[in-house]
């Protein structure tokens, strides 16, 4: 019996605690996570579930007063808990990259988009300015931005939301990463733009064989893109499994309730149907 190859990303017992004035807030409480090469894993949860904090901690983006602890945190053979800052910096942007929700805050408003892409390239590879710029323009074209040479000279605020997100994807894919962590990248976009951005992201993913950890609250998106699904609630993993199993045979009550709460645009209108199981009012008091 052959041994399964080690996963690209292995996380065991991840915990993230924030030391606030009101005491210690545990945002993530013992999460296990595995992502294999080329796999698309969706991390699903509502607000307060800890899904975003999990994503940030994998990139080393959790700052004090947050404290990240884990029994194991391994990426591509490297032990991230013991790695030096230099080793971790070498990974970020190159082997692991991140796409954020709000491109306006993730992109530097004071620099042209071309420069920002070129900068990422030059941080990790020894290329000259002009060569980096040319690659940036190529990337902009690859992400579907028309007149890329022109657009590269634009500032983030001059572009539409969808275009900014494409730029973010260009930045994230500039150095063909092995793992892309996407934190609600399409939540703020119109649905038609979302469809285009997702199409782009997963076309690139299919091309490069990158793994994707996609963090979202939108179960429709999850169904469209996931290989595996990890459901989080209040800092813990409630359920995980492959996408068909989660949607067709959810085991946990929370997952079932979540799925029941999402209306399907293909389902005929049923005026008597209700989406939540509990009554809104009860004899004693308010359900939360």
């Amino acid at each position: 019996m052959s041994r399964e190859p080690e996963a690209l990303l292995t996380v065991r017992n991840l915990a993230v605690n924030f030391d606030t004035r009101q005491g210690v807030v545990a945002a993530v409480k013992g999460v296990d996570l595995t992502v294999r090469s080329g796999e698309v894993v969706c991390l699903v949860g509502e607000s307060g579930s800890g899904k975003s904090v999990t994503g940030f901690s994998l990139m080393g983006l959790v700052d004090p007063p947050g404290l990240v602890t884990a029994d194991a945190l391994r990426f591509d053979g490297l032990d991230l808990m013991r790695a030096s800052d230099r080793e971790k910096d070498a990974l970020r942007g190159k082997d692991i990259s991140m796409v954020f929700q709000e491109p306006m805050t993730a992109l530097n408003p004071g620099r042209t988009v071309g420069n920002q892409i070129a900068e990422v390239i030059r941080i990790h590879e020894r290329v000259g300015r002009e060569q980096a710029w040319n690659r940036a323009v190529e990337l902009l074209q690859r992400v579907g931005i028309r007149e890329p040479a022109q657009r590269a000279k634009a500032y983030p605020h001059e572009l539409s939301g969808g275009m900014r997100q494409r730029v973010m994807i260009a930045v994230a894919c500039a150095l063909t990463p092995k793992l892309i962590i996407a934190d609600e990248p399409t939540t703020a976009l119109d649905v038609t733009v979302q469809a285009q951005v997702l199409e782009l992201l997963f076309a690139l993913q299919a091309e490069t064989g990158a793994a994707v950890l996609f963090i979202t609250h939108d179960l429709g998106v999850v169904a469209e893109i996931a290989d595996r699904v990890v459901v989080m609630q209040a800092g813990r993993v409630v359920e995980e499994g492959d996408v068909r199993q989660i949607f067709e045979r959810p085991r946990q009550a929370y997952t079932q309730a979540l799925l029941a709460a999402v209306p399907d645009v293909d389902a005929p209108r049923d005026r008597a149907r209700r989406l939540s199981q509990r009554p809104v009012i009860s004899a004693q008091g308010a359900p939360q």
Partner: protein, 274 residues
Amino acid sequence: MTDFILRAEAVTKDYVIGRSLLGKPSRVVQAVRGVSLSVAPGSTLALVGESGSGKSTLGRCIAGLVRPSSGRIHLAGHDVLQLTGVSLMSFRRQVQTIFQDPYSSLNPRRTVGEAIMDGMAIHKLYDAQERRARMQSLLLRVGLQPDHAKRYPHQFSGGQRQRIAIARALALAPRFIVADEAVSALDVSVKAQVLDLLADLQDEHGLTYLFISHDLGVVRHFADRVAIMSAGELVEEGECDQIFEAPRHEYTRKLIAAVPRPDPARRRLRQAPA
């Protein structure tokens, strides 16, 4: 022939963005361009569109919160463009709005109980004791507790605040409610509960809803009729299932196609899973 509770004709709203030195408008944005629609009492019309479609602006014109540049709006027996004094107050009792952001639509300095009773106080309805009693029963109806009345909005979650907003809207016993992306900012499970609450209230009180939303899944579940807007214009309008199953306009088709389906077997973006 049904008597419509809302009849809007050729509503337009222009915003002047730039003026020349002499004050002449130089750049005008047409947020709403000649939209007409009607709604039957007791039903729900969803106004759907992406950002910039003008749906919120149209909703505010209909609710009498923004003055349209031209057109006619008759709602709940009032001519919305000619409201003053007595007719304005009477209109406000009949037509209420629930806003999108539960964090800014409640006055942070007013207790929840006061917020709900405000409408009654403004219209000088009932005495203090009766107002309090009505307020408490409204709190219960929306799933909160009477002793929540003493608390301030920041002590509640987003979903609870939206329920408070609903209670506030109901306090005047309106006939028509404009829900302007009222559930868009809520978590999935909370959204479901609030939608159910709105549906129950509609059955109980015979309310008519103008449901403004960009979420087509929710719209299909919730609306009787759907009107699609794009760039200020009304693109298509019709009965709910008809619009979704047999959309006529290209934009409508594009919109429906773009919505992700919560069923991996029907996925289109990637290969269906094994």
